[in-house]
């Protein structure tokens, strides 16, 4: 094996060992989050701040910092976090996840936070409205889809009718806001 390959192997082993080293969640809120798909990774967060340095929203805003939000979860500020609109600043672009060296996905953690916020009645109005539209019509833009656009579609040789419908969402609608079964 050449030196380069050996070095790569050592680095890989080190990395594997590092990502295996989990911290136990320090608050019941962190434990709660760790039960969601990919939420378990919160245990790996070392609070290094790469996510905050990376995040395009943090760059433009002075209140959203993914590392800090994770810290609030780790120390158990459950009420503050769920009531706050800060978890809703994350656009799920997942740049932070791509760069995090510890295998944490802040985007998925905040997804779980928002889920809890919604089930406890803290969803922002804009969000509730969007969900209601999607679960009534089956898609988001039924209202915006006008005759004019149908004409433009026809002019381009595209089908006027889009065939979207609400058959499937009718069935799932009642499940929403009731939480998971």
């Amino acid at each position: 094996m050449c030196n380069f390959a050996r070095a790569a192997l050592v680095i890989k082993e080190k990395k594997d060992a590092m990502t295996r080293e989990l911290h136990s969640p320090s608050s019941s809120f962190a434990l709660e989050i760790s039960l969601f798909p990919n939420g378990e990774d919160i245990k790996k967060c070392i609070q290094c701040g790469i996510c905050s340095a990376t995040c395009p929203v943090a760059f433009a805003s002075n209140i959203f910092r993914p590392r800090k939000l994770i810290q609030w979860i780790l120390i158990g500020k459950r009420e503050e976090v769920l009531k706050s609109d800060i978890p809703w600043f994350c656009m799920t672009c997942r740049t932070c996840e791509e760069r995090c060296q510890e295998g944490v996905s802040p985007a998925e953690i905040f997804q779980a936070v928002r889920h809890l916020a919604i089930s406890e009645g803290y969803a922002p109005e804009a969000f509730k409205k969007m969900v209601d539209i999607i679960l009534t019509d089956g898609w988001m833009l039924k209202d915006a889809f006008s005759d004019f656009i149908e004409d433009d579609r026809e002019a381009l040789g595209l089908d006027r009718d889009l065939h979207w419908n609400n058959e499937f969402v009718k069935m799932v609608k009642k499940k929403y806001f009731d939480g998971e079964e």
Binding site: P56, V57, R94, E97, E98, Q111, M140, F168, M171, K175
Partner: protein, 298 residues
């Protein structure tokens, strides 16, 4: 080759986006890729929708995948948001058996079944990986050397790359390589890989403006003939949003045409600007078309 296709909700319904669909249909036809629309497509429950309840939101995306599976086809989508949702379904099914079971139960109530066999592909990655540069090259009839564009990959087609099974996203090149086949110069400039802020629209408009302003200043300084976008949200943000930024920040000379990725390819394949809906964009595309015609000798 035959693929099922799910267009997403934005592309077929927004005036400035229908050209995306028209151009995609044209180039796939040229490349001998037969496509079958997913019947009665349902919302893929993207981004924030997934925080409502992961089981039900993923079941919505799985519904379209189940339809593709019924057809015995893999699933193509030009929408980066949909692509992300579909990839996430397969990942969660494989890794979280309890969620898998719950999704199955929802689908079965609708008389559907999804085994997880469908591979979803983003249009641009499909062109690069499944069709390939050599094949694409054979279809190029117009040389567009001299055009200088700024290509925006967007976020959701790329990240995280393990989940999406796509080239590592820090500095991707696959989409540039295709454009370079037509002689186009895909300029490297500050901010080309950075987020457009599109998902904050309607929720945090001030922040969305601030991020977009930065992106447009980057693009303006790069002196481009056009911005080229892959993601439909990125297009709405840069094309429709450009008007807002122009007024709000007093950028009087700001007028950068924003072209959809497949539209550029369709021009290279010899289609006319009329066929691919370039006149429906918010920022006029005439100047760009004139330059393309001139360099292409059409």
């Amino acid at each position: 080759m035959k693929m099922a296709i799910a267009w997403g909700c934005l592309i077929p319904t927004r005036r400035s986006l229908i050209g995306y669909e028209a151009a995609t249909r044209k180039i796939l036809d040229d490349l001998d890729v037969e496509i079958a629309d997913v019947p009665n497509e349902t919302c893929c429950a993207p981004f924030w929708m997934q925080s409502l309840d992961i089981t039900t939101s993923l079941a919505m995306a799985a519904r379209n995948l189940a339809k593709a599976e019924e057809m015995g086809l893999d699933l193509l989508t030009p929408c980066s948001g949909c692509f992300h949702s579909y990839k996430r379904v397969n990942y969660v099914l494989q890794n979280y058996p309890e969620v898998h079971e719950r999704i199955d139960r929802i689908l079965s109530k609708a008389g559907l079944n999804y085994e997880g066999k469908v591979e979803s592909k983003h249009l641009v990655d499909f062109l690069f990986t499944d069709i390939g540069l050599d094949e694409i090259k054979k279809h190029i009839s117009v040389d567009l050397s001299g055009l200088e564009i700024g290509l925006r990959y967007g976020c959701h087609m790329l990240k995280p790359h393990e989940l999406l099974n796509i080239e590592y996203s820090e500095r991707p090149v696959f989409a540039d390589l295709i454009l370079e086949l037509m002689g186009i110069t895909s300029k490297s400039y500050i901010g080309r890989y950075r987020c457009c802020g599109g998902l904050l629209r309607g929720i945090q408009d001030e922040l969305a403006d601030r991020i977009l302003h930065e992106r447009l200043v980057d693009a303006y300084n790069a002196n481009l003939d056009a911005l080229v976008t892959v993601c439909s949200l990125c297009h709405l943000q840069h094309d429709m949003g450009q008007r807002i930024i122009k007024r709000k920040y007093g950028m009087d000379n700001l007028e950068i045409p924003v072209i959809h990725y497949p539209q550029l390819l369709a021009l290279g394949f010899g289609h006319s600007p009329e066929e691919i809906g370039l006149k429906y964009h918010t920022i006029p595309t005439e100047k760009f078309i004139q330059k393309a015609m001139k360099v292409g000798g059409v």
